[in-house]
Every structure is written in C-alpha cells, then in structure tokens.
C-alpha cells in the first residue's frame, strides 16, 4: 500500500490494564512523512495505542504489552531502549494544551535544557526555528519571556507543538490535539499538521471524523480494542470495506 517507507509498525500487539485487554492483536504500519489518523468511539483503544508508541503508559500501574512495536525496525519495548531516548525521537502533543507554567522561551527549550544543552545562542536559535515552524514566531517574538499561560488556547497548543519540535523528533503523536479548541484555532492546527507532514511522521487520534478526512493520508478504525479497518483515508471515507467502519463514519453508531 505504501509508496513511502514504513516508519512505525506494530506487530501482533496486545495491551493490558491489569486483567483488562485494551488492545487485541494490532498489526499496522505507519508511513514515513505521512499523517495516519486513528478514529473510533471512546474507549476503543486508539488513545491507548497512541500512548504505547512513545511508552507513555509505562507509568500506569498494571499496564503491560505483548508483541512488538518497531520504530525504524527496532523494538521500542526492548530492554536496551532507553525511554528518554525514545521520546526524543517520538514527540507527543496532548488533548488539552499543557504549557508549563513558565515563560514561552522556557517552554520551547525545556526539552533541550533537560538534555543538558546550556548554550544560550543555541537555545535561542532552536526556539526561533520551532516557533517559526508552528507559525507562532511573529505572534510571540516580543513576549518570549512572558508566561506561556497568557497565550490563547490555540496559541498554547501551537506552543506545545513547537516545544515537541524543538528536540527534533522524527515522529509526532497527537492525542486529539484540537478537541479543546475553537474552529479557527482548529483550522490553524490542521494547516500546521498538513505542513509538518513534509518533514515528520504524524500519528493523530481524533474524535472528529471530518478532521481525519482533512488532515490524514491513512486512517485506522478501532473498535473494542481491535483494528477493524486500515487504509487510505480516501478509501475509508468513500468506500469502507467493513460495515462497522461504514456505520461509524456515517454517524450511525459509536
């Protein structure tokens, strides 16, 4: 199916919260420099799956996985993989904008600072670059040292994306990045995603089917912890092969 390389893939992945099996035998490949959308009703496992891709579930008591998740062919749950190194490669943006209660500048360079980078010129350069990438530079360049919490919701979310870009990951995971935003901010974020896919592999979880249609190249439909259908977004949205997919995207259930 893919004309591009495979960046991320899951093979026979099962995931459990204690005794509850949240993901059932997921096998999926995500194309490099493309947008893959996960859709499905609440509790279908799409967010859980997204969070296994950078091991954000590690801190949840009782969470465990079986099977493989390969990033560039390497298993990210391997014992030799350090989770902080993994997260430098796989960035994440969350549902609610979550800037740190610090200045805009401190937010953007946080990832670099915790890597031990102290050179001020280097940090400033990196901050400007990622703020430009998210089209936020012009809006914030005069208030870099003001609190990030003073920004609007949409700006905060773009700041969170800039913050993720600053540590130059190759994959960006987005967990319903616009669900807390107004339509205009949402449109800006969607445009941004469209731009970013030139350089990054993007995986996005969304409750908004139209959003999946607008921004993604490939779409995966999850239901009750299973991957029901995966394919080109065009195909899924014009002629899905599974009835459950059809019923979900036409709003007949879920």
């Amino acid at each position: 199916m893919a004309k591009n390389n495979i960046k991320l893939e899951a093979k026979n992945l099962n995931a459990y919260y204690g005794d509850f099996k949240a993901l059932k035998d997921i096998t999926i490949s995500m194309e490099e420099k493309a947008v893959t959308a996960f859709i499905g009703p609440s509790g279908c496992g799409k967010s859980t799956f997204l969070r296994t891709l950078n091991r954000m579930n590690d801190y949840i008591d009782g969470f465990r996985t079986e099977g493989d998740i390969l990033l560039d062919g390497k298993d990210i749950y391997d014992k030799n993989i350090r989770v902080d190194e993994l997260r430098k490669e796989v960035g994440m943006v969350f549902q609610k904008p979550n800037p740190f209660p610090k200045t805009i500048f401190e937010n953007v360079v946080y990832g670099l600072k915790i890597q031990g980078i102290k050179n001020k010129a280097h940090l400033e350069e990196a901050a400007e670059k990622s703020l430009r990438q998210t089209a936020l530079w012009e809006e914030v360049k005069d208030k870099m040292h003001k609190s990030a919490l003073a920004l609007s919701g949409g700006q905060q979310q773009r700041l969170c994306i800039a913050r993720a870009l600053a540590i130059s990951p190759s994959v960006i995971l987005m967990d319903e990045p616009t669900s807390a935003l107004d339509p205009i901010s949402t449109a800006k974020i969607e445009e941004l995603i469209y731009e970013l896919k030139n350089d990054y592999t993007i995986v996005i979880v969304t409750h908004n089917m139209q959003q999946a249609g607008r921004v993604s190249d490939n779409t995966a439909f999850f239901y009750m912890g299973e991957l029901i259908e995966f394919g080109k977004t065009k195909t899924i949205f014009t002629s899905p092969s599974n009835d459950r997919t059809q019923n979900y995207i036409t709003g007949r259930f879920g």
Binding site: A187, E190, E191, Y194, Q210, G213, R214, V215, T233, K234, F237, T238
Partner: protein, 230 residues
C-alpha cells in the same frame, strides 16, 4: 494557500486541462469537416478516450473532496459545479467525436456554399467563441460576459429552427443528395446541442460564483434579471 484551497485548485486545473482537450476536439472537428481530413478526424476520435479518463478522474477527485473535506458554501458550490461542468464537457467531446465519425463516412469535404447557406459554420464559430468565453468566465469571473454567453445560445437556437426550411429546400432541389442533406441536418442538430451544453456550463459557473440558480427560469424572468443588472 490553505490545504483545502490547494485541493480545489488541483481539481480546477484538471478541469481546465480537460476543457482544452475538448476545445481542441471541437475546433478539429470543424477542420476535419471542411477539409475532409480523415487523419485529423481519427485523432479526434482517439482523443475521446483521453477525455473520458479525465472525466472519470475529475469525478473521483470530486467524490474524494466531498468525503474528506465535507465542503460548505462557496467550496460546496464549486465542487457541485465542477461535477456538472465535467459531465457537460464530456458530452461536448462526445459530440465532436460523433461529428468526426460522420466526416469519416462522407465522400468529400462539405461544399462551401451549402455550409454557408445552412449556416453550420456560423454555428461553429459562435459555439467556439461561447466555449472560449465560458472558460474565461470560469477562471476570471465576470457576470456580464457570462450572461452574454447565454444570449449567444439564443442565436444558435434561431439558426437551428430556420435550418429546417433551408435543408428541405436543398433536398427538393437536389434529390440525389438527400443523404448529404440528412447528414448536414444531423451536424446542425449536434451543434445546437453543443450550444445548450455550453449554456449549462455557464449556468453552473454563475451558480458557483453568485449562488444564483438561473436554469429552468422562464425566459421572461431571465430578461427581467438582465434588465435589473443594467
């Protein structure tokens, strides 16, 4: 330029490419007819396949656009219009192709005086101007030009209505050439259809830009509308 605009532009570009092909087919059918150019006629017929591929492709693009972007307002009208323009263009291409098939059956070029008398060439000229104007209106909208195109179709219809008598007279005088007369009648009828199709296209363009539905209005209303505009 935003993502959705890029997609729309791509679809429009495809449509314009198809338009150029169809225009070429129509012009060439005229040349083939006048000079009995069988090679050219064959080429027009073959081009029909390419036009059909464009037709399918544009339909597919529009379908995807609906599914992926759920367009509203001007975007919705543009895609609806594109689908209908696409269908009409394809029909015009088919007509040109049909004319060339007739050319291949003819024994020689259409006789100039007969062509003049039946005003077939005049129909051709008007249609080609209409088609070129409609293309201009699509890329660079101008309400006056658009409504002028609609008026041109009236001229074509008038020629078509009068052609009966001319051709009946011709066939009376040349009983040996009744076949030619009938072929000529078919050609004139086809050109009349082309005029109608360009009218449809223009109406869709007006709908897309002004959000006004003008087809199926009575002529009186159309005239009133024109008065209002002036």
């Amino acid at each position: 330029m935003s993502h959705i605009d890029k997609e729309l532009k791509q679809i429009q570009e495809k449509l314009l490419e198809m338009w150029d092909l169809v225009e070429y087919q129509l012009i060439s059918s005229r040349e083939a007819l006048l000079h009995h150019d069988l090679v050219l006629a064959e080429r027009v017929v073959k081009l029909g396949k390419k036009v059909n591929r464009y037709d399918t492709k544009i339909d597919r693009q529009c379908e995807n656009f609906f599914a992926l972007f759920t367009p509203v307002a001007v975007d919705l009208r543009q895609i609806l219009a594109t689908i209908k323009i696409n269908a009409n263009l394809e029909r015009i291409g088919d007509t040109a192709e049909g004319i060339c098939r007739i050319v291949k059956k003819l024994n020689g070029p259409l006789s100039e005086p007969l062509a003049q008398e039946s005003r077939l060439l005049e129909m051709y000229d008007i249609t080609l101007v209409m088609l070129a104007d409609a293309r201009k209106v699509l890329t660079n909208y101008d309400a006056d030009t658009a409504h002028a195109i609609l008026k041109q179709d009236k001229v074509i219809n008038k020629i078509y209505r009068k052609s009966d008598k001319t051709l009946v007279d011709f066939m009376h005088q040349n009983p040996a050439n009744v076949a030619t007369g009938l072929q000529l009648y078919t050609l004139i009828k086809k050109m009349e259809r082309v005029g109608d199709q360009i009218t449809n296209i223009t109406e869709e363009i007006i709908f897309y830009h002004d959000a006004k539905m003008i087809k199926h209005r009575s002529d009186k209303k159309k005239k009133n509308r024109n008065k209002d505009d002036n």
